[in-house]
Symmetry: none
Subunit: 190 residues, 4 copies
Amino acid sequence: MKSKDEQKESTIIRATLQLIFREGLAGLKMSNIAKQASMAVGTLYIYFKNKEDLLNHLFLYFKRESMTQLAQKIDFAQPFKVNFKQLWHNYLAYAVDNPEQATLLEQLHYSPYLRPEVVAETDKLLQPIRDMLDEGKRQMLIKNTDNELLLAFLSGSINQIARRFHENDRKLSPELREQAFDMTWDAVRA
Amino acid sequence: MKSKDEQKESTIIRATLQLIFREGLAGLKMSNIAKQASMAVGTLYIYFKNKEDLLNHLFLYFKRESMTQLAQKIDFAQPFKVNFKQLWHNYLAYAVDNPEQATLLEQLHYSPYLRPEVVAETDKLLQPIRDMLDEGKRQMLIKNTDNELLLAFLSGSINQIARRFHENDRKLSPELREQAFDMTWDAVRA
Amino acid sequence: MKSKDEQKESTIIRATLQLIFREGLAGLKMSNIAKQASMAVGTLYIYFKNKEDLLNHLFLYFKRESMTQLAQKIDFAQPFKVNFKQLWHNYLAYAVDNPEQATLLEQLHYSPYLRPEVVAETDKLLQPIRDMLDEGKRQMLIKNTDNELLLAFLSGSINQIARRFHENDRKLSPELREQAFDMTWDAVRA
Amino acid sequence: MKSKDEQKESTIIRATLQLIFREGLAGLKMSNIAKQASMAVGTLYIYFKNKEDLLNHLFLYFKRESMTQLAQKIDFAQPFKVNFKQLWHNYLAYAVDNPEQATLLEQLHYSPYLRPEVVAETDKLLQPIRDMLDEGKRQMLIKNTDNELLLAFLSGSINQIARRFHENDRKLSPELREQAFDMTWDAVRA
DNA sequence: AATGAATGAGGCTTCATTCAT
DNA sequence: GATGAATGAAGCCTCATTCAT
């Protein structure tokens, strides 16, 4: 027998992503995914129950991947602000370098495909960041404000910045990034 | 298309809105719009060339309406910060009170329906706000930073705050709103 | 507008029947029904919710039609046995002349398509025959036996006779029909 | 195909039977048969050329089994009517006790799966019964009528009785069975 | 022989758009 | 202008069969 190829699942997800980038979520067809992944349509249904299931897995897969990117060069031995700044820049860099991915996650989030339970599960991935914010508050370096407010502030502004600049075909120079970070820090500092 | 009956056009747009709010953009069908608007499908095609055309009109219609909400109680005779704060609260209130609308605009924005020219046209609606930010800079009250950055910062954070709280079924108390505004003001102040 | 053509429903049903006769229930495809009925597939779905619905209507339609055939030349002014014999011959004639139809109804009956409620409804159509049997019992002309037993006896034997002869490509001569009726009458007579 | 493991063939047929009883012929899938038989799909194709082949074997297997049931307690040393009655009761008991089996054979019979040659072969199994009828005629105990007519009469009525009572969830009491046999005997007796 | 992943033709159904009335 | 029945392209998914292991 041909044993169920574990990596085929990832092949399918990557193929799907490429297609969504190229043609949008609305134009996504199972038959094209199969073509892009060089396999038969039926094979997709061996690894995913249906289109909805595939997209839910895709969502989770990329949310996890993005969290990995965010955690780069974060070292809890370092002072809070150093880590905060690193995290912020990681996030911005990710959002800038993968503009379609952010858009995709957003699109999926509000599509009829995504199951609430999957959304809830991705939310848990943010826990390390919540912990970090708590630590900042303990050290009285940042405002003692509701975590959800802080998170919304951080993610909302970063995403929107990356998006607007991408839409207008503008580059985000290091200087602009620095200015943006300063605004963020001024916003959250105690 | 484009008949004398100007009001029917608006009826269709309103009916479409209600449907999108109730069932989402993805499930939107011309036949249902017709039903909701109490007319025949064919009639829709007298007033709008096709579904795409209808949704582009809807987007514009809607963006204009939201700008009207934002401008409430703004009076250029007042000091900058008063107006800035009022604008910020107007925006947040609008985003909180109409959580589906923000989502709708987002969904539409990234759907294959929306024509770039329409997106560009709605962007012009922000000009008064850009002017206001310029005035703030002239008075050296806010940072002398790129307007797109400032706008992204403002809209991104506000939308995200409204959205997260709506998703988690949490109320945004006046205290939290005040804290959020303080963060924003700290971020932009000179 | 083109007003919903009442007779189109019957056109579809007749087209479906012809197809089932030609290619069997198992090979029945909606696209072929449309072709046979000279209309677009979509049109089928205006008149019937789906394939199952179409087949349920078909079942009812033909059960009713067959009952009409059975009732021919039945006149309650005539003596019981005359009517009984006429009914029996009508039934046999119908089963012989429409061998596919009997088979179809049987096939449908045991297919996953047929809804129990529709089966129940067709059963009600037999009431006039039950009444007739009761009258025969009242006149002490036939055995005072359970109606279901009598009905099963009558319909089962007639259908099977028509079927076997049709399968073996044999004609049912008037003599054989007379013999068969005699057997039936001997079976039920008091 | 046709391997040494004769028993596996029977395992597959039994598994198929159970599935058809439980879920009907229309929903029968090769993958489910494999699951029910605790083997891989591929294995089915070692023992049977394809689905059609499997179902033809099943039909034959089954017809033979039912004939065995019918022959129980038949002893040619006994008088004709005793055997006839025994046969009739055997048949009815079988049809009543295995209501799905009769239906299955019927369904299969009119499915596109069954090959005519197999149907013809099963018909040969009826020869002992035909012989018995001939003997009855020779002894002038039953009508001198066409055997096909007699067979159709017998099988059609019995099957239909069993079916109707099963559908209506009614029990066939010994009294009713006796009445039914009396009708049959009156029908065929000379 | 046994396995079960892979294949892909083909079925049912939806829905934007057209057009006869 | 208004209507809504008619159209048919196109998408999702199933499942009998194959074949590499």
